[in-house]
């Protein structure tokens, strides 16, 4: 528990006994503070003709250090929920707390970092300058900034590329820069909106493993929006299943897959079981597996 707030790779080393920092327990099992607490959160977008309910009555708690995926079909409000947590939109009802503060306060205090589906790097800045952007905005001194950038480039494996420009990088590398940038201010919460959605499958699997490692090393809680069931199961401690019209949470599945998120997990039977469980939850019916027929 004391390791929960460990930040950055330098103090995020694995403890000697080999256990990592990830906490697989749901909020009910945790005694520490909550990264996110949503109570009865709803979001209504007014349009000219009618009001569109994007989210209704969302109850969600994310423990510090926990990895939670939001999954569901288009229009289920998963991205909206993420934007509410990031204070890019404001909830029309309910209460939203990030580390016990209102979302707006948390945004101003830089309690979270974000990564979107597009890497969203500034094309006129080098990799280093892109990673340094949030630090620059907050007036971090130049030497400290350079040290932090080097550290983060190391963390995402891009040390050799910090002088490149985004148009000289592949999509996967750009996304790694975006993740490094999201981690720059050492947030205790990472918000990710389909960050690997535009990548090819191989890059995607590689970055999933990388993200699992980075999340473990930094001890940050992650709220991860995705379309992909295997991705959600592979990465998460809990998978939150959502459904559209109106957007709401219909199910929460605890994966209980333990600490190790490596390639062997992708072939493990319990992994497939969770994938099936999430799929059933998404479709709302029992899904017959090929070997049960």
């Amino acid at each position: 528990m004391t390791l929960r707030h460990a930040q950055g790779p330098e103090d995020g080393q694995e403890p000697a006994d080999g256990t990592t920092l990830r906490h697989a327990q749901g909020p009910e099992g945790g005694t520490g503070e909550l990264a996110v607490r949503a109570t009865g959160v709803g979001k209504v977008f007014p349009t000219k003709t009618a009001e569109i309910t994007a989210l209704t009555d969302v109850e969600l708690e994310v423990a510090a250090g926990e990895f939670v995926s939001l999954i569901g079909p288009s229009g289920c409000g998963k991205s909206t929920l993420l934007r509410l947590i990031a204070d890019l939109d404001q909830a029309t009802s309910g209460e939203l707390e990030i580390f016990g503060k209102p979302a707006r306060r948390a945004r101003i205090d830089q309690d979270y970092g974000v990564a979107f589906q597009q890497a969203g790097l500034l094309p006129w800045r080098t990799v280093a300058a892109n990673i340094a952007l949030p630090l620059e905005v907050h007036g971090t001194a130049r030497p400290e900034r350079a040290a932090r950038v080097a550290e983060l480039a190391e963390l995402v494996g891009l040390s050799d590329f910090i002088d490149r420009y985004p148009d000289q990088l592949s999509g996967g590398m750009q996304q790694r820069v975006a993740i490094a940038r999201a981690l720059a201010t050492r947030p205790r919460l990472l918000l990710m909106d389909e960050p690997f959605g535009a990548l090819d499958e191989m890059t995607r699997e590689y970055l999933q493993s990388e993200l699992a490692r980075i999340a473990a090393e930094t001890g940050a809680a992650v709220v991860f929006v995705t379309h992909s069931i295997p991705e959600a199961v592979f990465l998460s401690d809990r998978v939150v299943v959502m459904s559209p019209r109106p957007g709401r949470i219909t199910d929460v599945i605890v994966t209980g897959l333990g600490e190790a998120r490596d390639e062997t997990l992708r072939e493990a039977p319990e992994y497939f079981e969770r994938v099936t469980a999430v799929r059933e939850a998404l479709h709302g019916t029992h899904v017959e597996r090929a070997n049960e027929r």
Binding site: P123, V137, P166
Partner: protein, 312 residues
């Protein structure tokens, strides 16, 4: 590493080739104009073609093709040789020296006009982007302002300038010319600034907002850099406009020393010295090119801010 730099070299090489091709097309364009001029002068009737002329009544009818005799259309080589003859006979310096001197004066005034125009245009663009209400309020007026003919507007500025001068604050005539030049120059900058500042992607704006970055921080780190690809052509256009405005303003308020005045003066003597007015004409073309070219140099220093253009 080596593969990447190799690709970079290749991109540069093809860029060079494209640049030379552009130069080639430019030269070809100029040659075409010269050839057409001489060709028409050779083929066209000396007195041009007039329709509906009444016999014995000079000046009647409508001239539909221009006259080609030497007074109306001097040979190109005559125009060029005229440049090296004395400006107004006797011991006066060669025409090209006088043209260059006048062009420099106009260039200086146009530069002042350009700077005023860029500052005013940039401020207008910033204010319009910041407050939508201001955009609705003044954008139509900015557009309308460009419809007012310069020759109608120039004497008004001059009169106001004279009054200020008489009131005790020194107001040299060239300042009026610069103000009029800036009147044409500010327009593209204001529009380019407005478009450029609104250019950043939603995702970048959101990102800055997640950093809790304020207006100025967002302006400096996101909006202004993103506006560069819009601003560079606007600045170039403003430079060309400033030269044009300065030349026209000199003529319409009768300021001495600049190339506009020289053009009018020599054009007045064209019946006796037809090649002379072409000297300042070439001078003002060169002036526009120099002005636009100088501004293009700004773009070289801002190359990295145009990266988005290549990839997007």
């Amino acid at each position: 590493m080596s593969a990447a730099s190799g690709a970079g070299r290749m991109r540069r090489a093809s860029g060079d080739a494209r640049q030379w091709l552009a130069v080639g097309w430019g030269v070809l364009g100029i040659l075409t104009v010269l050839i057409l001029w001489e060709l028409y002068k050779f083929l066209g009737p000396a007195e041009g073609v007039t329709i509906g002329a009444v016999e014995g009544q000079s000046g009647s009818g409508i001239l539909i093709l221009p006259r080609t005799h030497d007074r109306a259309m001097p040979h190109i080589w005559d125009m060029v040789t005229r440049l090296f003859q004395p400006t107004s006979g006797g011991d006066t310096p060669p025409l090209w020296v006088s043209v260059a001197g006048a062009a420099l004066i106009t260039l200086g005034i146009a530069a002042v006009g350009w700077i005023i125009g860029v500052v005013v245009g940039a401020v207008l663009g910033l204010v319009m982007q910041r407050w939508r209400l201001v955009e609705w309020g003044i954008l139509p007026w900015i557009v309308v302002s460009q419809i007012v003919p310069l020759i109608a507007f120039a004497p008004v500025v001059n009169a106001i300038g004279n009054q200020i001068d008489r009131g005790g604050t020194p107001w040299p005539q060239w300042l009026s010319v610069a103000i009029i030049a800036s009147y044409l120059a500010f327009f593209p900058v204001a529009i380019g600034m407005l478009k450029g500042l609104a250019a950043p992607d939603r995702i970048h704006v959101d990102l800055m907002s997640t950093y809790a970055a304020g207006y100025w921080s967002t302006l400096l780190r996101l909006r202004l850099p993103a506006a560069v690809p819009y601003l560079l052509p606007a600045l170039r256009l403003a430079a060309a406009n400033a030269v044009l405005g300065a030349v026209v303003a000199e003529v319409s308020i009768g300021m001495r020393g600049g190339i506009g005045r020289m053009l009018i003066q020599l054009a007045g003597q064209a019946s006796s010295d037809p090649a002379a007015p072409w000297g300042p004409t070439f001078g003002s073309i060169a002036l526009g090119l120099i002005a636009a070219g100088t501004v293009a140099l700004i773009g070289v220093g801002l190359k990295n801010y145009r990266r988005g253009e290549a990839t997007a």
